[in-house]
Each structure stands twice: as C-alpha cells, then as structure tokens.
C-alpha cells in the first residue's frame, strides 16, 4: 500500500449531534469508541460503551418525522441556527406522554436529558429535505 494513509490526519472526534439521513436518526455520542445500542422504544435508543455499558449518548429515531411534525412547526424558525438537544428530548417526552410511563423508560429518557444537559449539546444538523419543506 504505497499511498498515503491519512487515518492519523482525520481530526479527533468532537462530540456533536449528527443527523444520519439513511437511518433517519439524530445521534449524540460522547466518545468515538465501540458502542452498543440499547433500544428503549421506537423513538429513543441509548448508546452504551461496549466494554462496561456506561451510557455514552443516545439516538432519536424517526427524527425527520418528529422534526416536521413537532419541532419545525413549534420552535425552529428559518433564522434560528440551532436547538438544544435537551429541548428536543423534553419535547419528545411531552408528545409521547403516557407512553413513557413505566419506570425503565422514564429512567432512560432522564438519562438522555442528563447527558444532553451536562454536555450542553446544540443541534445544528437537521433533516435537509424537511428543513426546506
């Protein structure tokens, strides 16, 4: 392999919320390490370290749908550059309401809120189709 390998030159990971279009999910993870995904419900998945299962982040699934139906209409204007991730998860909790009534789910949502709050995560990456729609 004579070519220059730029594995080292890729910037080190800066934690941020990334919208993945193909899986239609907004993901925030604190570290670039091997992780496992623990499904909580059809909206929230916690991301845990593979070795010790410590919570490292979370993923909001079906985000385009949620963004169009709730966030864009109520909060996100053309002039606004970002929304806080805490606000998004809290809004999801309001929308889901009684569906997040059992303890396990409530704890998981609280954990996601804690991560978003302590890391002060801003979401600047939104579904592009939806953003123009």
């Amino acid at each position: 392999m004579g070519k220059i390998d730029r594995t080292n030159s890729i910037d080190s990971y800066r934690p941020c919320a990334i919208y993945y279009e193909q899986s239609d999910s907004l993901e925030y993870v604190r570290q670039d390490t091997p992780v496992i995904y623990r499904r909580i419900d059809d909206f929230l998945t916690l991301i845990l370290a593979m070795d010790n299962r410590a919570p490292l982040g979370f993923k909001l699934k079906g985000f385009r749908h949620f963004y169009l139906r709730h966030l864009k209409k109520n909060y996100h204007s053309e002039r606004q550059e970002f929304l806080t991730l805490v606000k998004i998860v809290e809004d999801a909790l309001c929308v889901l309401g009684d569906k997040v009534f059992d303890d396990e789910k409530r704890i998981a949502y609280q954990r996601a809120i804690d991560i978003a709050q302590s890391d002060n995560v801003e979401v600047r990456d939104f579904p592009s189709m939806a953003a123009h729609g």
């Binding site: 594995t7 910037d11 193909q22 496992i36 499904r39 059809d42």
Partner: protein, 205 residues
C-alpha cells in the same frame, strides 16, 4: 474589456487519491431476505459513514469494514500486521447473517412504519477498533458474548421488482445497506437481538 475573475481556490488534499479505507466499496454480498440460501447484492449507503468521519468519528467505518464487509480495514500496515493472525480468520460479513427480520416498527425517512427495512443479524467474534500504536492504528478486539450485530437494509422493491423493470445498477443490487449497529443479545436466544419480538414486525428466517 473587463478581465474575468476566476474564483480559483486551493483545495487541501484535492489532488490525492483517498486512503483505501476511506474508499468504501459500493456494494456487498449478503443473504436474500426471502431465502437464506440465496445470495444477493446490496449497495452500501456511504453518506452517513462519511458524515461521521467528517466529525472525526471513525468507529462506524471500522465496523463497516470488519463486520459488514468482513475485511481487515485497509489502513497502513493493518494487513501485514493482522492478516495472518488467528483474529483475522474470525472476521465475518453480512453473508454470515443467521436471522432476518422485516419491519423496524418506527418511521424512517419516507417510510412511516419502517416496514420496508430488513434487519440481518449476525454474531461476529472479532471487529477492529482504532487504537494507534507503533506500526498500525487499528487492532482487533473481541465482540462480547452477549452482543450481536444487526445490519439494516432497505429494499428497492420490497414486494418484488415489476416484471418488465430491469435493475438500473450494473451490479444488480436489490437494496441498500442503510446502517449497522451492535445490540445486546436476547437472554433466552443469545443469537438474536434482545426483545426481538418488540423490535421487529416479523421474522423472515
């Protein structure tokens, strides 16, 4: 006559071919969602893995190479260092999937119910992690026993390709690999994802 102003600008690294591990293959061979003994080709959605990489997140791409494609990620010296080890022989690909489910029970893009997504479950023993050391920046790592890997595929024609319509792609791919992830295994069925009956709509095989 006014001189034309050319908007030339320097593109850093624009003249170099990309490093091999960043050159993601366009397709992968996997099992058919309808028949386990039949092989088909899937395209690989590259945009999301590249996007993660733009933010410095390498692990999703390493997972793609080592668990979906079943190859040692082609970074410098990796093949020389790990190619002949026992670990390298423990790699498995999408072709090693032992279970397939249809429907992910949540909206995904334009698919309100995620019904046209298929989840292929495999149980790889080894994957590669980023761990720079002298000679190579990646190393093999064991997948814990209580973890399985799921690769998600969206079919182009979930109800079958219309009779007169030929595949528009040269490799004859029938769908696209959209994302992939490690999940915890079910307690009573350690080869399947935990709560698989809640996660997916139906088991195909």
């Amino acid at each position: 006559m006014d001189k034309l102003v050319h908007p030339f600008r320097v593109i850093d690294g624009g003249g170099q071919t990309p490093a091999r591990w960043l050159d993601i293959p366009s397709a992968v061979i996997g099992r058919s969602p309808y028949r386990r003994d039949e092989n088909v080709v899937y395209r690989i959605a590259q945009h999301d893995a590249r996007k993660a990489l733009e933010h410095g997140r390498k692990q999703p791409l390493l997972d793609l190479w080592s668990v979906v494609l079943g190859e040692i990620p082609p970074v410098n010296n990796a093949l020389a260092k790990w190619g002949k080890t026992a670990e390298a022989h423990g790699l498995s690909s999408l072709l090693s999937a032992h279970a397939c489910f249809r429907g992910i029970k949540r909206p995904a893009g334009n698919d309100d119910k995620g019904f046209d997504f298929y989840a292929f479950v495999s149980k790889p023993a080894i994957f590669f992690v980023y761990d720079p050391s002298i000679g190579c920046v990646i190393k093999p790592s064991y997948v814990p026993d209580d973890v399985v890997h799921v690769t998600y595929v969206r079919l182009d024609y979930p109800e079958g390709r219309p009779a007169k319509e030929c595949s528009m792609v040269p490799n004859g791919a029938v769908g696209v690999v959209t994302h992939w992830e490690f999940v915890e295994a079910h307690r009573d069925a350690p080869n399947l994802p935990t709560n698989f009956t809640e996660r997916y709509r139906q088991q195909k095989w």
